[in-house]
Symmetry: D2
Subunit: 232 residues, 4 copies
Amino acid sequence: MAKIEYPLILVNYKTYEQAIGKKAVELARAAEKVSKETGITIGVAPQFTDIARVAEAVDIPVFAQHIDPITPGAHTGHILPEAVKEAGAIGTLLNHSECRLRLDVIHECIKRAKEVGLIVVLCTNVPEVSAAGAALNPDMIAIEPPELIGTGVAVSKAKPEVITSTLELVRKVNPNIPVLCGAGITKGEDVYAALKLGTKGVLLASGVVKAKDWEKALLDLANAARKWVEGR
Amino acid sequence: MAKIEYPLILVNYKTYEQAIGKKAVELARAAEKVSKETGITIGVAPQFTDIARVAEAVDIPVFAQHIDPITPGAHTGHILPEAVKEAGAIGTLLNHSECRLRLDVIHECIKRAKEVGLIVVLCTNVPEVSAAGAALNPDMIAIEPPELIGTGVAVSKAKPEVITSTLELVRKVNPNIPVLCGAGITKGEDVYAALKLGTKGVLLASGVVKAKDWEKALLDLANAARKWVEGR
Amino acid sequence: MAKIEYPLILVNYKTYEQAIGKKAVELARAAEKVSKETGITIGVAPQFTDIARVAEAVDIPVFAQHIDPITPGAHTGHILPEAVKEAGAIGTLLNHSECRLRLDVIHECIKRAKEVGLIVVLCTNVPEVSAAGAALNPDMIAIEPPELIGTGVAVSKAKPEVITSTLELVRKVNPNIPVLCGAGITKGEDVYAALKLGTKGVLLASGVVKAKDWEKALLDLANAARKWVEGR
Amino acid sequence: MAKIEYPLILVNYKTYEQAIGKKAVELARAAEKVSKETGITIGVAPQFTDIARVAEAVDIPVFAQHIDPITPGAHTGHILPEAVKEAGAIGTLLNHSECRLRLDVIHECIKRAKEVGLIVVLCTNVPEVSAAGAALNPDMIAIEPPELIGTGVAVSKAKPEVITSTLELVRKVNPNIPVLCGAGITKGEDVYAALKLGTKGVLLASGVVKAKDWEKALLDLANAARKWVEGR
């Protein structure tokens, strides 16, 4: 399985029209460029139909947005972990607030991901649920208070106690799981605040995908991460 | 909230035809009789439509089989925790293998149950998922390997390692949660084995509901629990 | 199976706190009283936990709010058609906007309802979907534009074309299915408008359940239906 | 929107391991070759991650296996009709037995597909449900009795009455919708029987995908269709 160097900036394309097809690849290229310039890891999570094209074009971590808890077989319309892997993804988001899963299904998906060699970024909504998720041994947890998603009000500044409480509860259950945070992240200062609180990076979407200048937006985020790394 | 004395034998009526309406009440009466004779707590979980009739007729703990994560309002066709409580239930099963829920929904249901004063028996399938469940602070956890449910092959005898592993993982996350086990339990010796392994009781269904003589079947189970209590 | 006389006023209790337990029975009694006074059929759809108590207390049609497509057996937490029938319901709502179902599940539920002897009121959102529903032979169709539900803006006055278009499309597929309408119905004039458009009655919820004086609210509705019947 | 010439042989890759990535393309090439040789339209429905690669490589109709009822926006992990279209699909399966949808969602998906210019092949299980589907104006209906899917026992030979009844009921609701049939189709004679009954083609999966020699299997099917066309 691929190794991720932290801090990580992970860009979820969702199903935004700004990042479909060729534009999915262009956004990934901007991320790759900024990553090389700053030395900060930037991952991208395009739609399923764009994974192969993006993974072929760039040398940064590519994630799926979801997988189903299935093995190869008769599962029309579902997302096979093997297919996502073959297309070039090194991991996947799981249980995103727009794609919540059953508890037993999350467990099964994480098992399947490990079998196939995919990194799982398990999304959660509150500290207790993050602790529950930690018991299932995902590779990362991304805490995102749903009420802040897409608002531009950064969780790391508006609700730091959600992050610190998550870090504390997750650590008790499983001290080795890196925690990201998301929701409302749009600026470098949001990233800096997130890292300072103890997270290993950020998960964001509209803050980058809907930005007029992708490179500029990513550079702002990555420079803040850079600054934090150098200040440690 | 009601206090449960352990060990607990909890009988899930599912939607078996043997225990609808008047027969739901009769089964509860048999449970009440055996409970009084043996001193062992026996709870029943009838269908929603039978909760009020059962709760009115007997003085043993009555559970719902499920609740939804809702507050009073516009939720046609859903199970309101307040309604279940008003009908006389003191608690509810949650996330049964035939009624699995999303991780965030389980969290929300447990919160709502506490607000309303309902005991939550969270059902789980494997040790890791039980540990995850423990992080959400239910009142009990009932581990039931789905492959044994309804088989008559008792988990406490066929897969004791599932129970001991569950107890160990749950204890690490939250040492105060009583663990029940279920799946395949039909005889007193299955109950005895379950208690000996460290559980606080059993969750069962067909083993009682489909028995020709409810009282006899319940007496066999309760006597075994009695024997274990006295032998401690 | 029970026979319904039209026009029908059908009151969905949803999970409103105003109509749980004893209050569920009181509301049904108010409906029964108004029904006797006016000669207009008024049905009620309480929560599952209240069906038995309501059905025992009154002599008006009682409906469930939902059924599951199951036969007696191992279906913890689900709604068995047989149980709903045994509790005293003569029918059920199906596919309400707050409880939408899969196409194949609707078909299965209607089959099960017929086997058990339950009347099905299939809820739909738009004319095309109503026509699709008609092909599955429910006993009634209730068209409710979701955007008007709970608004107090009556579909029969604000969107009469939705109703007439539904009547036309449903008639082509199956000319014998009575069509109700719902969403925003609160006053007698809304009922009168609905009947004048060609429907056989109305499905409503908050307009009655949240009214300060149930009897008065129901009387207003039933009198309007009465007036329409006499004016034919 | 692309025009399909009938009869149509539509190959659903499901999530079979035999047809992922490069092999997804190879299978499509075999289909293209046989289609050119025989003049019979052969479509393929690969996994989402393979649509772009397959559509780029071949000049036959490519379908998605599912779409979600969404517009561009915040829908992590879902299937955007626009993305499927951009990747090169001309249509999509919908409501396959392994991916059943809510009635209102099917309606919404068909609307969205039309907006985007995707052909919808609506899958159904029984004649009544097919008639219901016809009211929603999909571009094709594919009737597949679930109990025969994957068995090798062809619906067109084992249950011809399901097909004729479907054709009759669909025609009443909407006489212009081509009906395919599926389930158990593996041989040319199954295709011939299906066409003779009045269908416009077949939907199949394992019969081709799991065949040792894709070209041979497809040729057998296409030749039978050819024979039927010439015999009309």
